[in-house]
């Protein structure tokens, strides 16, 4: 709860031109966003680009970013997922900048994983992961936000920009459609992240 208040304040200050506050929002969510991009792309370099694009878009489109429950994370995740699904196109706007950013070593980051706290790949990997990634864009985003990220259906609907009832309909259709039994779709994860 406190995390959300803090983030809302940081975002609000960032909108007021406070660079450090935007840095704080970045610190809060960059790992989660990267992991989602990586879950789709399976390539560190591409996932970095998708993460960077999501945050640069967060700033560029700051006046229309949907803040959900005090957090910009759902918006970031949706944007990163969209970027990841079409990484070539989404790179275009920031091509020069992305090329200028240094690429270091990508060490396995057990420490960061513990901080981020969520084995995203374990959840969406395997056959289920393959099926999820094959879903239509909106359905994929809804499943990702509800089953993987633990947002409520109505929060996910807001993040994706559709009504809650449309989201419910889509989610039940997805469940029926997945060959994997619905029971194996992971239960929502709690809010331990970033605290």
């Amino acid at each position: 709860m406190e995390r959300q208040v803090t983030e809302a304040e940081s975002w609000s200050r960032a909108l007021g031109g406070d660079g450090a506050a935007l840095g704080a929002v970045f610190d809060l969510h960059s790992d989660r966003v990267f992991r989602h991009a990586y879950a789709v792309l399976r390539d560190v370099h591409d996932a970095e680009d998708a993460t960077a694009t999501a945050f640069l878009e967060l700033w560029r489109r700051r006046s229309s970013v949907r803040v959900i429950d005090g957090s910009v994370l759902p918006w970031l995740l949706v944007t990163a997922a969209n970027c990841a699904r079409n990484v070539a196109r989404s790179r275009r706007r920031y091509r020069a900048l992305l090329d200028s950013l240094p690429r270091g070593e990508h060490a396995e980051s057990a420490e960061r994983e513990a901080v981020a706290g969520m084995p995203v790949l374990d959840i969406v990997d395997g056959e289920l992961g393959t099926q999820l990634r094959a879903l239509p864009r909106t359905d994929y985003l809804l499943v990702m936000l509800t089953a993987v990220e633990g947002y409520s259906t109505s929060e996910a609907a807001t993040a994706v920009g559709i009504s809650a009832s449309a989201a419910r309909t889509r989610l039940s259709r997805v469940k029926a459609r997945l060959r994997t039994p619905a029971a194996s779709v992971p239960a929502p994860i709690g809010e331990e992240v970033g605290g």
Binding site: L15, P102, E108
Partner: protein, 266 residues
């Protein structure tokens, strides 16, 4: 095991974001303009300014102004026309920042705004005024400052892009922040009489300030009767945190014509 972003990439990206936010710093404006003739002050008031005496600019829904072309700063004397060049596509306004260096009246561009300075104001912060002007303040992409031949000034001009930020939403799904071109949020930012920043319910505010009553008026007599009933009275409404339920103070609407000097002491 999931790989992570490289530290170099992370740090460079973070630095870039911080730079972008700082570069697009909010430019605060003051209302010290006087309007000659039928100037549209509403343009500068940016809606909701009366009630959002709270820090307008950090509130959800508040304006974010970014410079979209290089600033031009000129120091001079007398009337001068300064060519800004064609406006970038993203420009929505012209930022005007003027400081008087002598006691005089300075007409600012084509919109009818002017700044008048006394000798005490000259060259000080009180002799400075700044804010966004509509692009129509320019003629042929040029800004004219008109004043007496001996009046000295310093002027900074820049094309800027102004946008309203989105309102935030609390856990109950109510929007909060300040009013803008999209209307008013469910919870409107105010400063309570105890000095704390908080929010009033739009419905409470409309009830207190007469907006709600005005909807029911069917004749000028209705409005007059309503005014008489309220004459000299002030109305107090509850101020809450952004959750809309935790009370933190009160907000008072004074008699409509007067300044809120009769607000109860906190």
């Amino acid at each position: 095991m999931t790989p992570g972003m490289s530290d170099e990439f992370r740090q460079a990206l973070r630095t870039e974001l911080v730079h972008r936010a700082e570069h697009a710093r909010v430019r605060r404006w003051r209302r010290r303009w006087q309007w000659i003739g039928g100037g549209t002050l509403g343009v500068l008031l940016a809606g909701g300014a009366t009630f959002a005496a709270a820090d307008l600019f950090s509130q959800p829904g508040g304006p974010v102004t970014s410079t979209v072309a290089d600033e031009i700063t000129v120091t001079g004397t007398g009337t001068r026309t300064i060519d800004l060049g064609p406006a970038p596509e993203s420009a929505t306004s012209v930022w005007v920042d003027v400081t008087c260096l002598t006691a005089a009246t300075y007409e600012l561009g084509a919109g009818g705004a002017a700044l008048t300075c006394t000798a005490d104001d000259a060259g000080t912060e009180t002799g400075r005024a700044f804010g966004p002007f509509p692009l129509s303040v320019l003629r042929d992409d040029a800004f004219t400052l008109a004043t007496g031949p001996d009046a000295a000034w310093e002027l900074t001009l820049a094309y800027v892009n102004e946008q309203s930020t989105d309102w935030a939403m609390n856990e109950s799904g109510q929007t909060y922040g300040i009013g803008n071109g999209n209307g008013s949020p469910d919870l409107i930012a105010v400063i309570a009489t105890n000095g704390r920043e908080g929010y009033v319910h739009r419905a409470d505010l409309e009830e207190a300030d007469g907006t709600a009553a005005a909807r029911g008026f069917t004749s000028p007599e209705d409005a007059l009767r309503w005014q008489e009933e309220r004459a000299g009275k002030s109305f107090t409404i509850q101020v809450y945190e952004a959750d809309g339920t935790t009370p933190i103070g009160e907000f008072t609407i004074g008699p409509s014509s007067g300044p809120p000097a009769d607000a109860p002491q906190g």
